[in-house]
Structure formats: structure tokens, C-alpha cells
């Protein structure tokens, strides 16, 4: 069975996901296969990865968060694979120093002003890692989710309540930052609403050809997000089936 949701470039041809047919467990297997093959593809791009101190800091912090979240649920193979991913380039301990990266304070973003999505997401992620400004992070994340779910894109800039974005909508780096923020929020809150949008953003990222990803973002960060998303689904399915008794 084919997982069709990454067949087309989902920035150019968004999917509305309406009334998807039920195809049984084979569909979940096809999804997992799709994500694994995407990870393998991304690994081959790792020599063309863009990285700056902020991205390395984000990747390393995210690695720690998902390691803690998935922890004992990683089997031996996954554990080795996981370490291999994180050893690819996130080895410069000095780059993992948060003092080298100073984001704009999240309080400086006002909904009525025009703001750049990259800056907002970076500020949000920084707060998510250090556990500050939870209310503001949730507020802005909700607005971005709403905008993406309605418009099927994330724009370069937003203003006036965020629903209508403007500027470019094909900035892969912004989609990755959004996926990172959604992943952390899901880990911290276990709310499947955020996993739902993460799945859609991951579809979009996995649907992009190599030339659209090369040098656009930190490849290990992309691998980590897709790896996390795929494992979050495995965990959810296992936990859900184990705890679910049908009384009907």
C-alpha cells in the first residue's frame, strides 16, 4: 500500500485531508515506511545541511527532550540509530551554549503589528525549551495552527490577528521551526491536536524534493522531527490500544 500524502509537493498542492478512507493497519505500516524512507533520504543530504548556532542549539535541546520522552520505549536498533543521528553534527559542545543565541523576547511580538514568522517561532521555541511564557507560546501556536489549517500554508509574515499571512509561503526553514514547536508542545502537553498539525507539516516536509531542502535547514533537525513524529504515533497507537476496552 502506498502512503499518498507525500506524493506531491504539499506547499504547491496542499491536501485537505477530508473523508480519508479507512484502509486498516496497512495504512499505518505505509505511513511508518514513508517516514523511514524520508529519514534515509534526508541522511544522504546531511553534507548539504545549513546550520547556525541557533539551529545547533535547538537540535541538541530537542534531542534531549525527545530522548527523555521516548526513553525506554526505544528498542535497541532505534537507540543506535538515534545516537547516530545526533552524532552527525551536533558534537560541538560549545555551540550548544544558549548564551550564544539571543532570540527576540516573545513579549515583543504584538498581534496587531507585522511580525516575521521565523523570529516569532524562534522566540517560542526558546521559551518552550526553558519552560517560560507558556501562556504566550500557546497563544501564538494556536494562531499559527489556525492559520495553517485554514490557509494550508505558513507565511513569512503575519499581522492583524495572524489568520491572513503575507510574503513567501515556501520557506522550508519556517515549516521546520513550526514542526519543532509543535513537537515540543505535544511532548509537554500530550494534546493530540498538536500532533495532528505536526503530521500535516511532516507530510509537507517529506513531500519536498531534495533540491528544495538542500542548504535550507539543519538536516539533523529535520530528521529528528520526523523520527520523533513517527515514534509518537507508535507510542500513541500502543498506549491507546492497551488502555482501550470496548464496553459496547
Amino acid at each position: 500500500m502506498e502512503y499518498k500524502y507525500t506524493n506531491l509537493n504539499r506547499i504547491e498542492s496542499p491536501n485537505n485531508y477530508m473523508y480519508a478512507n479507512f484502509s486498516g493497519e496497512k495504512f499505518i505500516e505505509a505511513f511508518q515506511k514513508n517516514r523511514l524512507s524520508s529519514i534515509v533520504r534526508f541522511k544522504n543530504l546531511s553534507h548539504k545541511s545549513k546550520s547556525d548556532p541557533k539551529d545547533i542549539f535547538f537540535c541538541y535541546q530537542f534531542f534531549l527532550v525527545i530522548k527523555n520522552f521516548l526513553g525506554q520505549n526505544l528498542n535497541e536498533f532505534e537507540d543506535i540509530f538515534f545516537l547516530k543521528i545526533t552524532n552527525l553534527k551536533i558534537t560541538e559542545k560549545s555551540s550548544i551554549d544558549s548564551s550564544k543565541y539571543k532570540p527576540e523576547p516573545i513579549e515583543s511580538f504584538k498581534v496587531k503589528d507585522v511580525f516575521f514568522t521565523e523570529n516569532l517561532l524562534s522566540a517560542m521555541i526558546f521559551c518552550q525549551f526553558n519552560g517560560s511564557n507558556r501562556g504566550l507560546v500557546k497563544y501564538f501556536l494556536e494562531l499559527l495552527i489556525r492559520s495553517f489549517e485554514v490557509q494550508k500554508k505558513v507565511y513569512e509574515k503575519y499581522s492583524n490577528g495572524v489568520i491572513k499571512g503575507n510574503g513567501a509561503s515556501n520557506i522550508v526553514y519556517i515549516y521546520w521551526l513550526f514542526s519543532l514547536s509543535l513537537s515540543i508542545f505535544y511532548i509537554q502537553n500530550k494534546d493530540i491536536k498538536y500532533l495532528n498539525t505536526l503530521l500535516k507539516i511532516s507530510d509537507l516536509l517529506c513531500s519536498l524534493d531534495d533540491d528544495l531542502i538542500d542548504n535550507k535547514l539543519h538536516i539533523n533537525g529535520l530528521i529528528l522531527v520526523v523520527f520523533f513524529e513517527s515514534n509518537a504515533i507508535k507510542l500513541l497507537l500502543n498506549n491507546y490500544q492497551e488502555s482501550n476496552f470496548d464496553f459496547a
Binding site: 500532533l195 495532528n196 507530510d203 500513541l236 491507546y240
Partner: protein, 229 residues
């Protein structure tokens, strides 16, 4: 019993068929029905792959229900708004195509739209919420409201939770419609009994808004009734 104050605006969907069957079974006949027919080749949200037209018309004709056909699937169109404006009923049961949001001017024509949302309000607002509630609490929900210009935020009349069905593969076209129909009937029976619309005291302005469920989560919601060995 004919509900003189109550009409129905209905698309040719499996939900409409389910509503009508339950209304007839409970002797609650809308005074008038405006039927929105999909004239396009594509199946619209809420329609099953099996055409329902014949079954729907047979039911309406056999029960001598008053209806008029709008060859227009868009409830927000001028044509449909005019049809509603020309009617005397003050409340219309809403059973349109899936994913449709009523926009002004239709919400300002002096008629109330009684809608049964497929989810327990205010906890589950938005789209495909019964799949979310299956995953989160292993239940289905339905809530009757009068539509307002804020999504799923009109005052609640009746809200109920239901046990998850054994076969979850037919949520879209059977179970979701069934639980909504149950709440619709309860709402109308309460109205007939008291002679007025009685509201649930719960404030419906807050709550979580969900967006259309990703197919992976939809599969998890459906597969969840399988106890792992």
C-alpha cells in the same frame, strides 16, 4: 405531529437520511424541507459513494412531507437564502454538506438554525471531533446548538456522550449521524414538551477547537477498539 415552527434545510447526505428516519420514527415532522441537491459530478463532504436520492425522495413522498428542491448545494447562495426568507418557520434544522460554514447574510435573515454538532461541547469544537474524542476518552459526543457567527459556539440545548461503537469503520456515515440524530430528537421532544427551547447552562464560548483529523490519527481512532494481545 407536524412542528409548525420548525423547518429543515437538508443536503442529500447520509446524515439527512438518518435524521429524517429518526424524525419520522418519533413522529416529529418538520413543517417544510428545503432540499439541497448536489448537481456536480463530485461527491461532496457528507455524501457516501452510494447515491441517496432515490431513497430520500421515496421517504419524503411516502411520508407526505412538504419539500422544495434547490438545485444548488451552497446554503450561502442567494437562491437558497431567498427560499428560506420566503418561509414562515422560525427555526430550521440544519443538515447541510460537511465542512460548510454559514456566513452572513444567512445568519441575519431572522431565522435560527438548529444544528447538531458531532462532538461534546464545549470540549470538542471544530471538525471531525468524534475521532478526537474516541482517542481521548473512547466516546462519541453530540450537542445541539443554534448556529452563531462563531464556530460551534452557539448556546447549547442538549449535549450527550455515547459509548464507542464496536465497528468504528462506519463513523462518518453511520455512527456520527446516529448520535447526532439521537440528540436532535431529544432536543425536539424537549421543545414539544415545554413549548420553548431550553438551554444547557454550560457556557459554550470556551473549549478546544480541533481541525480536520489527519488520516493517521483517524486510523488510530478506528483501530483503537482492538485489544492488543
Amino acid at each position: 405531529m407536524i412542528l409548525r415552527e420548525v423547518g429543515m434545510i437538508a443536503a442529500d447526505t447520509s446524515r439527512t437520511l438518518c435524521y429524517l428516519k429518526e424524525l419520522i420514527k418519533n413522529n416529529l415532522y418538520p413543517n417544510f424541507i428545503i432540499l439541497l441537491l448536489n448537481q456536480g459530478k463530485d461527491i461532496l463532504p457528507g455524501q457516501s459513494e452510494i447515491p441517496l436520492n432515490d431513497e430520500l425522495f421515496l421517504l419524503l413522498d411516502n411520508e407526505n412531507l412538504n419539500y422544495e428542491i434547490a438545485l444548488n448545494s451552497d446554503i450561502n447562495s442567494i437562491n437558497v437564502i431567498e427560499m428560506i426568507s420566503n418561509r414562515t418557520e422560525s427555526v430550521f434544522i440544519f443538515s447541510g454538506f460537511g465542512g460548510v460554514i454559514l456566513k452572513n447574510p444567512i445568519l441575519e435573515i431572522g431565522v435560527s438554525f438548529l444544528h447538531v454538532h458531532g462532538g461534546y461541547l464545549p470540549d470538542f469544537k471544530g471538525s471531525t471531533t468524534n475521532y478526537y474524542s474516541l482517542i481521548i476518552e473512547n466516546k462519541l459526543g453530540a450537542s445541539s446548538i443554534f448556529l452563531s457567527n462563531k464556530l460551534d459556539s452557539g448556546s447549547i440545548l442538549v449535549r450527550r456522550k455515547f459509548r464507542a461503537p464496536k465497528d468504528r469503520t462506519q463513523i462518518d456515515h453511520i455512527h456520527d449521524s446516529k448520535v447526532r440524530a439521537k440528540v436532535l430528537i431529544e432536543t425536539l421532544l424537549e421543545y414539544c414538551k415545554s413549548g420553548k427551547w431550553i438551554f444547557d447552562p454550560e457556557n459554550n464560548l470556551n473549549g478546544q477547537t480541533y481541525y480536520i483529523i489527519h488520516p493517521v490519527l483517524k486510523h488510530i481512532a478506528i483501530l483503537g477498539n482492538k485489544v492488543t494481545p
